[in-house]
Symmetry: none
C-alpha cells in the first residue's frame, strides 16, 4: 500500500553486538549483496570512530551500486565546538558518501547528565550539524536518539530537538527507541503526535530489550512512518536491533507494503545465512521466516495435517522468503513424518511390505537407544541406503586404538592408531591430536585422503556432545552430533555409545561416507 524505505545498519549498529566482527572486506561483500537485493540505504560505519570503517568507505567507492545509497554515521558536533572544526563531522565528509546519518540527543536527562551541556546548546548542535552537512550537498538523515524515552520525560523538549533538525534541513527524522524498552502502543501514540507536529518524512529505529523491536517497528509504520532501520538477523548491542529478516516479510506479506522487490524477498533466507557466516556466528535455527527450523514440523499430528494442506500449520509459503519445509523424524513423530522424509529422498517404500516394517522398527530401536536423526540427515540417509540401495561403504574398519597419556608436569598426549581396508588395500596409520577425537579425525583423514581427495574439502563445522541419562554419571550413554560442510552444502551425522570415542567415531565415519556419497567421490 505504501512504499517503506529499508535502511540497513548491520555494518554499524549490528557490528556493535557482542561477538560480531566484520572485516572491511566482509562489509563490502554484505553491502554489495544488500544493494543487489534492492535495500534503499546501507549504513557502512562510523568513519570517525575506527580505521576499519574508513577502509570500508574507501573500498566501496570502487563498486558501482544499482539500488542502495551508502550512508556514513556520526554524531552532532561537540558542545562548544564550531561545526566546521568538529573532527567527527569532518570524518563524515571524508568518507565521501552522499548520505550522512547523524544522531543527536532528544532526552533532557541525556543532555544535562551524559553530555553535560545546556538544553539550548544541544538544539544549536543539532541544527548546525544538519545544516552544515546539507550545505555540503549531502542527504541528511537525523537519528533522534532516545526519542521515545525523551518524549515521555519531556515531550516539548523532544519535539524541539526535531524542529531544530528540520530547521537544519534534515531529509528524514528517525525516532529511536535506543534503550529498547518501549511498548508498541507507546510507540504508536508518540509517532502519531510527532506526525501531527512535524512535516518531514519519519523513520523508526528500535532495539530489542523488551523482545518487542519487530512489533514496535510495525506499530510505527501503522502510525505513519515510511522509513525503517534495522539489521540482518537482528544483530546489535545488548539484545540487538529490529530484525529486518522479520520486519521486511511482515511489511510485505502481511501488510502489503512495498519494501524490497518480491524476487529479492525470496533471497532473504540466503542473505540471513550469508551474514551469519561472515559474522562467524551460528545461525539461529529457530529464527522466524529464515531459520532452518522455521518451517520444520516435528509433532505427528502436525505432519499428518501438513501433508493434507500446508496452510494448516504454516503461516506463509516458505518459498516466498526462500526457505523450505522440513519434516523431522523423532520420538514425537509418527509414521507420516518418516514417509514424508523418505519421499523427499525419492524412496517410495510400500508401508505394507515386511522390509519396510523392519526398517521402521530399526529406526525406532535406534531412537530408543538415543540416536536422534532430526539434526543428522546424513546418518539417516546412509541408514536407508545401507538397508535398500546396495550401498557400498567407502572403507571398512579393522581396528582402532586411542591412547591418552597424562604425566605430572607434562601436557596431555593423545594418539589414534587405525587400520582400515579400502577396496582390497589395507591402510594402517596413526596421528596425534589435541584430544582423542581430534586425533581420530586426523588419523582417519590421513588414511583416506589418498583414495578420496574430496575429503580435503570437507570441514567439521560443529561438534556437539549430549550425555543422555546423566544420572548414570560417567557410565551414561553419550550422543555425538557432527556437522560437516564442503563449502557448498552441509550435513549432520550422529553416533551413540556409552563410550564417547566410539560415538564420535560413528559420527565421523558417517560424515565422511555421506560427503563422498553426495560428491559421487567413490
Amino acid at each position: 500500500m505504501a512504499v517503506v524505505e529499508i535502511y540497513d545498519t548491520t555494518l554499524r549498529d549490528g557490528s556493535q553486538g557482542e561477538g560480531v566482527s566484520f572485516s572491511a572486506e566482509d562489509k563490502v561483500k554484505i553491502a554489495l549483496k544488500l544493494d543487489k537485493m534492492g535495500f534503499h540505504y546501507v549504513e557502512g560505519g562510523w568513519p570517525g570512530s575506527n580505521p576499519k570503517d574508513m577502509a570500508f568507505f574507501q573500498r566501496i567507492k570502487n563498486h558501482r551500486l544499482s539500488h542502495a545509497r551508502i550512508a556514513a554515521f556520526g554524531s552532532t558536533r561537540k558542545p562548544g565546538v564550531p561545526v566546521q572544526e568538529d573532527g567527527n563531522i569532518q570524518s563524515i565528509l571524508a568518507a565521501g558518501v552522499s548520505v550522512a546519518t547523524i544522531f543527536g540527543k532528544s532526552w533532557d536527562l541525556h543532555v544535562t547528565r551524559a553530555l553535560g551541556t545546556t538544553l539550548e546548546e544541544n538544539l544549536a548542535m543539532i541544527e548546525e550539524s544538519v545544516g552544515y552537512l546539507k550545505s555540503r550537498g549531502l542527504t541528511v538523515i537525523y537519528d533522534a536518539e532516545h526519542f521515545f524515552d525523551g518524549f515521555k520525560a519531556n515531550a516539548q523538549y523532544a519535539l524541539a530537538t526535531l524542529r531544530a533538525a528540520v530547521r537544519g534541513g534534515a531529509d528524514r527524522l528517525v525516532l529511536c527507541d535506543t534503550n529498547g524498552g518501549s511498548l508498541p502502543e507507546e510507540i504508536a501514540a508518540i509517532v502519531e503526535r510527532v506526525k501531527e507536529e512535524i512535516p518531514v518524512v519519519l523513520g523508526i529505529h528500535c532495539h530489542n530489550d523488551g523482545e518487542l523491536a519487530v512489533a514496535n517497528t510495525l506499530a510505527a509504520v501503522r502510525a505513519g512512518v515510511t522509513h525503517v532501520q534495522g539489521t540482518i538477523n537482528g544483530y546489535g548491542e545488548r539484545c540487538g536491533n529490529a530484525n529486518l529478516c522479520s520486519v521486511i516479510p511482515n511489511l510485505t506479506l502481511k501488510y502489503g507494503h512495498e519494501t524490497i522487490p518480491r524476487s529479492s524477498l525470496a533471497q532473504l533466507t540466503d542473505l540471513s545465512r550469508y551474514v551469519s557466516e561472515l559474522a562467524n556466528l551460528h545461525p539461529n535455527t529457530h529464527q522466524p521466516f529464515v531459520g532452518a527450523s522455521a518451517f520444520a514440523h516435528k509433532g505427528g499430528v502436525h505432519v499428518n495435517a501438513i501433508l493434507k494442506d500446508p496452510r494448516t500449520y504454516e503461516h506463509i509459503d516458505p518459498a516466498l522468503v526462500g526457505n523450505r519445509r522440513r519434516v523431522l523424524v523423532s520420538e514425537l513423530s509418527g509414521l507420516s513424518n518418516l514417509f514424508y522424509k523418505l519421499k523427499e529422498l525419492n524412496f517410495n517404500l510400500d508401508a505394507s511390505k515386511e522390509e519396510t516394517r523392519r526398517f521402521l522398527e530399526e529406526i525406532k530401536e535406534l531412537e530408543h537407544q538415543g540416536y536422534m536423526f532430526e539434526g543428522a540427515e546424513g546418518s539417516f540417509e546412509l541408514l536407508l541406503r545401507r538397508a535398500y540401495d546396495n550401498y557400498r561403504e567407502p572403507f571398512k574398519l579393522e581396528s582402532l586404538r586411542v591412547i591418552i597419556e597424562l604425566k605430572e608436569n607434562s601436557p596431555v598426549y593423545s594418539e589414534a592408531i587405525i587400520k582400515l581396508t579400502v577396496g582390497d588395500q589395507v591402510v594402517h596409520t596413526a596421528a596425534e591430536g589435541n584430544g582423542p577425537v581430534n586425533a581420530l579425525d586426523n588419523a582417519l583423514r590421513k588414511a583416506l585422503e589418498v583414495f578420496y581427495p574430496d575429503i580435503r574439502r570437507m570441514q567439521l563445522t560443529d561438534y556437539k556432545v549430549r550425555v543422555l541419562d546423566e544420572k548414570d554419571g560417567t557410565g551414561a550413554v553419550v550422543r555425538v552430533l557432527i556437522e560437516t560442510g564442503d563449502g557448498e552444502r552441509s550435513w549432520g551425522t550422529v553416533g551413540v555409545s556409552t563410550n564417547i570415542i566410539e560415538a564420535s567415531w560413528q559420527a565421523l565415519v558417517d560424515s565422511i561416507a555421506y560427503g563422498l556419497l553426495k560428491n559421487n567421490g567413490r
Copy 2:
C-alpha cells in the same frame, strides 16, 4: 493491576522444539523449580503420546508442590468414538493430575481437511470431551487451536467451538495463534470480540513465526485476557512459543500486573540458564532481560553515561530479573559478585592485598579459558582453599593412561591405568569401564578406597559435557561438569580442556577431593 495466571508449557510444547529433548528426570527438576518460583500451572506433557511423558507424571507425584498445579495435555476425543472409550482422554485420567488441558479445532478448514469430519461432530467432540473430564472432577483448560486463523476464516464457527467448550464446563478458554502468523492488532480486536460474547476466563497461547509472540501476548492481555501460556526461553516447535522470560517481566514491570512474586522475578535469569542447561542448548546471550549481553555495555559513550546514570542506557534495573550489568572494559561488577561469593564461604579477603588481586586474576583467567563456577561450587571452594588455606591434596597424580580399542566384530574396550601417591605410598592400578571416563572413575576409586573408605558413599549423579567454540569441530575446548552426592549433600565440580579425558579427570579429582574435605575424611 490485574492478576495474570502464568501457564508454562516448556515441558510439552517447548520439548517439540528442534534440538530440545528432556529426560523424565529433567522434566521433574524443571517442574519443581517452576513450582518454587510461583508459576500457576506447569504442563507436564502429553501422556497419551509417549512413555516418557507418562513417566514424568508418575514421578512428580512423589513431590509435594507448593504453588503450581500440574496439567496433562491431550486432544478432544476422536471423531465417532465415545468419549469414555477414547484412549487419549483415558491417558489424561491415568496421569492422575487435577488439571487437564485439551485442545480442539476452531478452524473449519482443519475440521474438514485435517480431521476429516463434520463441523457438527467437532462441536460434539469438544463439548463431550470437556464435559467428561469435568465430570471426573478435573479442572479443564480448553486450548482453542488455530483460534485466530479460524476466526478470520469463519468467525461464527470459531465462536461456536468456544460455546461448545463452555457448555462442557471449561474453566479457561485459551485462544491459540498456533501458526504464529497473526499481528498484534488482529489479536487485540479478536480477543475483544470474544470477550463480548463469552463469559469465561480467557487465555492466550502464541507462537513466534512472525517474531511477534511476545507482542501478541501483551496485546491479548491489554484486551482482557488473564491467563498466559508460554515457555522458558521461548522454546517450541518451529520458531518457538511466547517467551515467558520476556512476557513475565513485561507484564510485571511495564504494565504492573501481578504474575509470579517479585522475589521470583529476581530468579528469572537463573531459571533461563537452568532450563537451557538441561535442554543442552547454548543460552542465547542476546536474549532480552535474561541474556548475558542484555545489560552489557561496550566502552566509550555508553559506559561513561551508564556510570553517571544507569537509566541512560538501561530500560530496567537488571537486578529486578536477576541479571547484572556488565561493563565490558572494567569488569567491576564481576568483582562484586566474587566478593559476595567469598563472603558466603566466610572468607573475608582484603581487596587491597596483593594476594587477593592475584587470586582474582586467576579466577578471571580460568573463566576466560572456559571454566564456569556457577554450577561448580566444589571446584571454586577448592581453588580458594588451595590458594589460602594451607590445603593438602588427598592424593597426587604421577601418571595416567587411557586406552580405547575397537576391533571389527567385538565390543569396544576401555581401560585406565593410574599411578598416584597417597601420603608416602605409591598406588599403581588399573580398571576397565564402559567408556574411557567410566574406566578412569573406576580406577581412581579402586586406588583410593583403601585410604579413604568414605569414597564408597560418594556417587556421581550427573555428568555433563559442553563443547565450547563448537565451530572448531573436534579440536574445540570441552567443559565437563560433574555432580556428586553422598546421600546428605551434593556438589558440583568442573574441568576444562581440549581433551575430554583431561577435562573429566579434573572434575573427577575435584569431586572426590571436595567430598573428602567436607567429610573431614582426610
